[in-house]
Subunit: 246 residues, 2 copies
Amino acid sequence: MGTTQLETVPEPKYWHLKTVIGEALDSDFAVGEILPNERELAARFGVARATLRQALEQLELEGRLQRRRGVGTTVAPPRVGVDVSTTQHSWPGVGEDTWQSVDSADDTAPAAVARLLDIEPTARVHVVRRLRVTEGQPVAAELLYVPAGSVPGLVEADASGGPARARAVLRELRQLTLDGQDRSVELGSARADDARELDRLPGAPVLVVTTRYLSEGRTAAVSVATYRADTCRLTFGDSGDLAMAS
Amino acid sequence: MGTTQLETVPEPKYWHLKTVIGEALDSDFAVGEILPNERELAARFGVARATLRQALEQLELEGRLQRRRGVGTTVAPPRVGVDVSTTQHSWPGVGEDTWQSVDSADDTAPAAVARLLDIEPTARVHVVRRLRVTEGQPVAAELLYVPAGSVPGLVEADASGGPARARAVLRELRQLTLDGQDRSVELGSARADDARELDRLPGAPVLVVTTRYLSEGRTAAVSVATYRADTCRLTFGDSGDLAMAS
DNA sequence: TAGTGGTCTAGACCACCCT
DNA sequence: GGGTGGTCTAGACCACTAG
């Protein structure tokens, strides 16, 4: 009674913190600059460390911060745009140096991938592992699933399993005519092995790009590429050189 | 000494929990089924609630769970694929019922958008708000920024600001010839207003799709659409009907 | 009003990186 | 060894939903 209702909007503390720190990032910090450590920041803002961490996590999710254990928290550079437009791609590995072949193995495909390939979950496929590197930094790890039926010409002898084997699978795949591809993008979290190659912790947020390569009415191969969500912006340059023309 | 080193891999508890619960989800639960509450689950697994929550958060991020305050945690249905292929789009709002116009206002564009539009940050633009609904559920909220110069024919009188105004802006925009568009996808967190329209909490993870509409060598409009990352899989059907043919 | 998930605290210890 | 972020605990209270 008699008291004026003073903004009784219980905005969470971590949300407010995120805003405040975000603004400070714009005005007071340069890219690459290192922030005070979490314990000090928490004390400075008068909150528990867990609460501060919630704010930092959000900022990291948005690509504004970068945190490394044992090192500290730094201001992240703007996200790099990585081209995932389909016209650029054609078959995987055509004269591209953006992807590095890592190795290849024979294995079964995960259930979801087997469904896309329309094969039995127990059927064996070639699994090619590749890594995409941009400006010296790994940005994506890919698993390319190729059913044996798609590469009948592949000689089985060379079972070295190394990069040479991976390139051999890709070379055979290119013998097919590519009729088209579909692509989808969704949010995921990095599996342990992907995380290691991407220099992140397991569970880090990633953008999962799934591509079906179609040939002769069938799905000839499926690629599952996981991109670092913190540092990457996926671009689909559907106009591309058109913007340059005229 | 004398003790055999027993798998001293300090896999985080929450990571292990996530795996265990994820497997249980596959085998013991049906879509829509409600899980025991967090306090009980934590007790059952012998961990603190915060630790259990870390596991649930990951599963929610991957679209496997859905949590609602005051209600409970349920098993999420598979993500819905929403088509964001550019051929389908042409100008925004051409005979589509997937998008609902909400309203339109005159405002300045955020700095990042002003840069894409190549206009002054203080220049006024039409901001059209739209909502994308799929199967009765809101999946995306969009802000379409249209510089006044792109819609010279727009009559200023009708400043109602409601859906009618929004449709008028779109109608005028369609007078231009569309030369092409660029699109990019990145991870973000929902702003308060988007979160409300998407029926999520502020900060919820979203996929931000930014589109530049090009006309006569200029950027005629910019769309920033935020899709619910938990329930959506963005699809780029670059083959589409090709898969149907032959 | 009872029960749910969301926020917050004040500690502790661990894994990792640098010097 | 000293400092960083990452994990974990055992509590407490709040905001929301439903019966």
